[in-house]
C-alpha cells in the first residue's frame, strides 16, 4: 500500500504536446497527397527528403546537446512537411535537405528546442534557401505532366552542391500548353494577368508544392480548428486583414491593384495563414495580441506583394509577425477579471 501525494488539480484534460503536433501532421497529409498527385515522384521525394533531413537534424542536435530524444513530439516532422510544402516541386532534393537542416538547427535547436524558438522553423529554412539558391527557388514546374509517376522532374535529381540545369527543354518536351513558369502573383505583377479561379483551386497554377489549392488548405485547416488544435483567430485575422486591404486597394486604387480573389487564393497566403502563422510556439498567447498579430501579418503580406520587389510576401510577413509576438504579448495582456482600468 502506498500513498501518492500530489498537489491539485488531480485531473488532467489528457491532451499533450505530441497529440497536438500529430494532428497537425494528419491535417497536412491530404495536402501532401494532393501535391504528389499533381507533381508525382518529384513532390513525393521532396517531402520525404526534407522531412527526413529535419528529423536527422533534430536527432543530431539531441545528441550534441545531450537532451532526451525529441523526435517523439512530432514537431520536427511538422517542420519538415511544412517546409517541403513551401518549396517549388522542381527544387533539387539536396537543396531540400539543406533547407531541412537549416530549419531545425537555425530555426529551433539553436534557441533551445520546441517552445523556445522565436521564429517558425520551416520559414527560417525556407528563408535560408531563398537567400542561398535564388534561382532554384523560383523555378516552377508544370503540374499533371504525363509521366509524373514514373520519372522525376530533371532538376530534382541534381547532384549535391551542383546547380540544377535549366528545365525549360524538359517542360517543352512535355508539351504543356500555356505553361509560363510564373506564379499567378508574378504574372499579375509583371503582366497584369488575372489567373482563372479554377486553376488556382484545382492546382493547375504554378506554385510551391503545398500551396496550389486554397480550398483543400481551408478544409484541412477547418479540421484542426474543429478539433481545437488550432487558434481560429489567427487565420481569420490574417486572411481578413488581407482581404479588407485588397478590397480597399481595388476599390480606391482601381485596376492597378489585383482583384481580391487573386490575393486570397494565390501564393502562400492560405498555407501561411492556416499552418505557419498558427504555429503555437511563435504566435502570441493573449487574445488581443493574437488579433493584432494576425492583422499585422495580413497587412505586411499585402504591402510586400503590392509595393515590394518580391512577388510573394507571406513568408517575410510571418517572420515579421513572429518577431513582434513577444512584444504584442507584453503590451496586450489579457483583461484581468475585476481589474481596475488604468
Amino acid at each position: 500500500m502506498s500513498m501518492q501525494l500530489r498537489a491539485s488539480p488531480h485531473l488532467h484534460s489528457g491532451r499533450d504536446v505530441p497529440t497536438i503536433m500529430r494532428h497537425v501532421v494528419y491535417a497536412l497529409l491530404p495536402i501532401c497527397a494532393f501535391s504528389v498527385w499533381q507533381y508525382g515522384l518529384s513532390s513525393l521525394a521532396l517531402i520525404v527528403t526534407v522531412t527526413l533531413s529535419c528529423l536527422a537534424a533534430e536527432r543530431i542536435s539531441n545528441k550534441l546537446s545531450g537532451t532526451v530524444n525529441t523526435l517523439s513530439d512530432w514537431s520536427a516532422t511538422i517542420t519538415g512537411v511544412l517546409l517541403a510544402l513551401t518549396l517549388p516541386p522542381a527544387f533539387p532534393l539536396w537543396m531540400g535537405a539543406v533547407a531541412g537542416f537549416a530549419a531545425v538547427w537555425l530555426g529551433k535547436s539553436l534557441f533551445g528546442g520546441l517552445g523556445h524558438n522565436p521564429f517558425n522553423p520551416a520559414l527560417v529554412g525556407r528563408a535560408f534557401v531563398q537567400a542561398a539558391f535564388p534561382t532554384a527557388i523560383t523555378t516552377w514546374a508544370p503540374a499533371f505532366t504525363a509521366h509524373r509517376f514514373t520519372e522525376f522532374i530533371p532538376s530534382s535529381l541534381t547532384l549535391p552542391l551542383m546547380q540544377p540545369n535549366d528545365i525549360s527543354s524538359w517542360v517543352a518536351s512535355n508539351m504543356v500548353d500555356g505553361f509560363t513558369g510564373a506564379t499567378p502573383l508574378a504574372r499579375w505583377k509583371f503582366e497584369h494577368f488575372v489567373y482563372p479561379v479554377q486553376d488556382m483551386i484545382t492546382g493547375a497554377a504554378s506554385a510551391s508544392t503545398g500551396e496550389t489549392s486554397a480550398l483543400l488548405l481551408m478544409v484541412c485547416g477547418l479540421y484542426l480548428i474543429a478539433r481545437k488544435f488550432m487558434d481560429w483567430r489567427i487565420p481569420v485575422a490574417v486572411v481578413g486583414s488581407a482581404l479588407i486591404l485588397a478590397l480597399a486597394f481595388r476599390v480606391f486604387g482601381g485596376d492597378e491593384y489585383p482583384p481580391a480573389h487573386l490575393v486570397l487564393l494565390s501564393g502562400g497566403l492560405m498555407l501561411g495563414a492556416l499552418f505557419m502563422a498558427t504555429d503555437m510556439a511563435t504566435s502570441p498567447v493573449s487574445p488581443r495580441a493574437v488579433w493584432a498579430y494576425g492583422a499585422i501579418i495580413g497587412t505586411v503580406t499585402i504591402m510586400i506583394r503590392y509595393f515590394g520587389g518580391l512577388t510573394e510576401g507571406v513568408m517575410y510577413a510571418i517572420l515579421f509577425g513572429n518577431a513582434l509576438a513577444p512584444l504584442l504579448d507584453k503590451y496586450l495582456q489579457p483583461n484581468v477579471f475585476g481589474a481596475r482600468k488604468k
Binding site: P9, V336, R340
Partner: protein, 484 residues
C-alpha cells in the same frame, strides 16, 4: 479612487444604484454596461462567465440517497477545523460526553465551537494530524459501542423571536462554518459591519467539482431545510432577497427546490452554465448578476454575501433545534472506493476507518483526496480526520495518476491556459516567470494575487507544466516574506 471600478458589466453609475435595490430588481445588469456594443450581446453571457473548463463530471453517485455508515471506534477532533482562532476545550480527559454536547468553546469572534459527534469518553487532548496533515491539538474521543445516532443534547429555540445580533450569536453557538471547503465561520460572514449593507444573498448550488455530489443531494433531499436556512441567513445579514444559483445539469435539484420558493419572489432560483469553476464566488456572481467583483475585493463591496447550499441547509435544520454541527455529508467516490455514495459522516472520523469500511482493499497504489479533484488536497496519512470543511473523499488508483506523472514539455505557447483561466490571467507568462523565481514581477505586473488556484491552467496544459502548483508556491513565498 477608493470606489471600486468594474471592468465590464457594472459602471460607476451602476454601483451607486446597488446598495438599495428594489426587491424585484432585474437580474441581469448587463444593460447598464458602459460598453455599448458589449451590452448588445450580454444575453450570451447570461448565466455564465468567460473561459473555464469542462472536466468530465464523474458524478456516478447521483442516484442514491444520502446514507449513513457505522460509527468508528475513535474520533479525532482537531480544535482548529475552521478559519480563525482554534476552539478551547471544555472537557477533561476521562470525561464522558453525549452526542451533541459542547466540548470546546469558541475563542473570540472569528472562531467556532465544537460539539461531540458521538457518545463516548474523552481519551486524550493531544496533537494529532489535522486535515492538512499537520500535527495540531485535537480532542480524541473513544466512541461507546452502543452509541445512538440520536442527538439528545440540544435545546430547541424560537428563532423567530431573535433579533439580528441574537441570530448571529446563535449561529456561532451551533458551530456553523462554511461547508463548501473553506470552513469560514458562517456567523462572521453573515455579520455585516454597521457601515456596510448587504442587499442580496447568493446561494451557491454549483457543485462544479467533478465527483462531488453532497450539495446536490442536500438540495434534493432537504429543500425545506434549505429554505429555512436561507430565511435565517437573510434575516441575519439584513439582505432583502436571495438568489439560488444552480448549475443547469442539476435539474432534479432545481425541481425539488422550486415548490418551496416563496410567492413574494424574495427567494429566486436561477440556473447557470455547467462549467468549472462555476462554484467560485466571483464566477457565480458574474453568472447570476453580470457583476465583476473588483480585483482584491470581496462580494460585500457589491452588497452581496455568498453561502453554500450545504451550509444553509444544515443551518436551517440545526438552528431551530439548537443542535451543534456534528456531522456533514461527504461524497465517497473514485475507482478506489468500493461503496461509493454520499454519507453522513461524524467529524473526527479518520480516513482509515472510512476506507476500512468503504475502500477497495485491492487498490494498492493510491491517492486519497480530500475535497474535489480540481482543488482538493491529497492526504499524506490515513490518520487524517474528516472535519467541517471536508466535502469529499476520493480515492484514485494508479490508472488515474498516470496522465499527470507522464513526461512534461516546454511551454509551446498554445494559449490553452489563457483561454481557460476564469480570472483572465496569463498563466503561461506567470509560469515562465515563476520558473525564473521572479515572484515580485508575477505579483506586480501579472496579477498573481487574483489567482484563486482553481487549477484550470494545469488541467488544460498540454505540456503538463504544473502551473497552478507553481503559483501556489510563489504566493506562499511572497506571504512568508511579507507578513500581512
Amino acid at each position: 479612487m477608493d470606489q471600486p471600478v468594474y471592468s465590464e458589466a457594472g459602471s460607476a453609475k451602476g454601483f451607486s444604484l446597488l446598495p438599495a435595490p428594489p426587491a424585484h430588481l432585474p437580474l441581469v445588469e448587463g444593460s447598464k454596461s458602459s460598453h455599448g456594443l458589449a451590452s448588445l450581446f450580454s444575453f450570451w453571457r447570461r448565466g455564465s462567465f468567460k473561459r473555464g473548463v469542462h472536466p468530465a463530471p464523474h458524478k456516478g453517485t447521483l442516484d442514491q440517497p444520502i446514507k449513513r455508515m457505522p460509527f468508528p471506534r475513535k474520533l479525532i477532533l482537531p480544535l482548529a477545523q475552521h478559519i480563525g482562532k482554534p476552539s478551547v476545550p471544555l472537557v477533561a480527559v476521562g470525561e464522558e460526553v453525549a452526542r451533541g454536547q459542547l466540548i470546546a468553546r469558541c475563542d473570540g469572534t472569528l472562531s467556532a465551537p465544537i460539539h461531540a459527534p458521538a457518545d463516548g469518553v474523552i481519551e486524550a487532548i493531544t496533537p494529532r494530524p489535522n486535515t492538512r496533515g499537520a500535527w495540531t491539538d485535537a480532542i480524541v474521543l473513544r466512541v461507546y459501542e452502543a452509541s445512538t445516532q440520536e442527538v439528545r443534547c440540544n435545546i430547541p429555540q424560537d428563532i423567530d423571536e431573535m433579533d439580528q445580533a441574537q441570530l448571529i450569536t446563535a449561529i456561532q453557538q451551533i458551530g456553523m462554518v462554511g461547508l463548501g471547503g473553506a470552513a469560514f465561520p458562517s456567523h462572521a460572514k453573515l455579520n455585516v459591519p454597521a457601515d456596510k449593507q448587504v442587499h442580496t444573498l447568493i446561494v451557491n448550488g454549483c457543485e462544479c467539482e467533478p465527483y462531488l455530489t453532497c450539495d446536490y443531494k442536500l438540495m434534493r433531499e432537504w429543500p425545506k431545510e434549505l429554505m429555512a436556512g436561507i430565511r435565517i441567513a437573510l434575516r441575519a445579514s439584513g439582505a432583502s432577497r436571495a438568489i439560488i444559483g444552480v448549475e443547469d445539469n442539476k435539474l432534479d435539484a432545481m425541481e425539488a427546490i422550486r415548490p418551496h420558493l416563496p410567492q413574494d419572489g424574495s427567494i429566486t432560483l436561477q440556473s447557470v452554465a455547467t462549467k468549472y469553476p462555476q462554484g467560485a464566488e466571483k464566477m457565480l456572481i458574474k453568472s447570476l448578476l453580470g457583476l465583476n467583483v473588483p480585483s482584491g475585493g470581496l462580494p460585500s463591496q457589491l452588497g452581496l454575501v455568498v453561502h453554500n447550499v450545504g451550509t444553509l441547509a444544515l443551518l436551517g435544520r440545526l438552528l431551530p433545534l439548537g443542535q451543534g454541527l456534528i456531522e456533514r455529508v461527504v461524497t465517497l467516490a473514485g475507482p478506489g472506493i468500493k461503496r461509493p455514495g454520499d454519507y453522513w459522516i461524524p467529524f473526527g472520523t479518520t480516513l482509515r476507518s472510512i476506507l476500512e469500511w468503504a475502500g477497495d482493499p485491492d487498490c494498492k497504489e493510491r491517492e486519497v483526496i480530500l475535497g474535489g479533484p480540481m482543488m482538493g488536497q491529497a492526504a499524506s496519512t490515513l490518520d487524517i480526520p474528516v472535519s467541517k470543511g471536508t466535502s469529499g473523499i476520493l480515492v484514485f488508483d494508479k490508472r488515474m495518476l498516470e496522465p499527470i506523472t507522464k513526461q512534461s514539455w516546454a511551454c509551446i505557447h498554445c494559449s490553452e491556459c489563457v483561454n481557460a483561466c476564469p480570472m483572465g490571467l496569463n498563466p503561461s507568462q506567470l509560469g515562465m516567470l515563476s520558473a525564473k523565481l521572479e515572484f515580485d514581477e508575477m505579483a506586480e505586473h501579472y496579477h498573481l494575487g487574483d489567482c484563486f488556484e482553481c487549477g484550470c491552467c494545469s488541467y488544460v496544459c498540454p505540456s503538463h507544466i504544473p502551473l497552478v502548483q507553481q503559483f501556489r508556491a510563489a504566493k506562499a513565498f511572497l506571504r512568508e516574506r511579507k507578513p500581512l
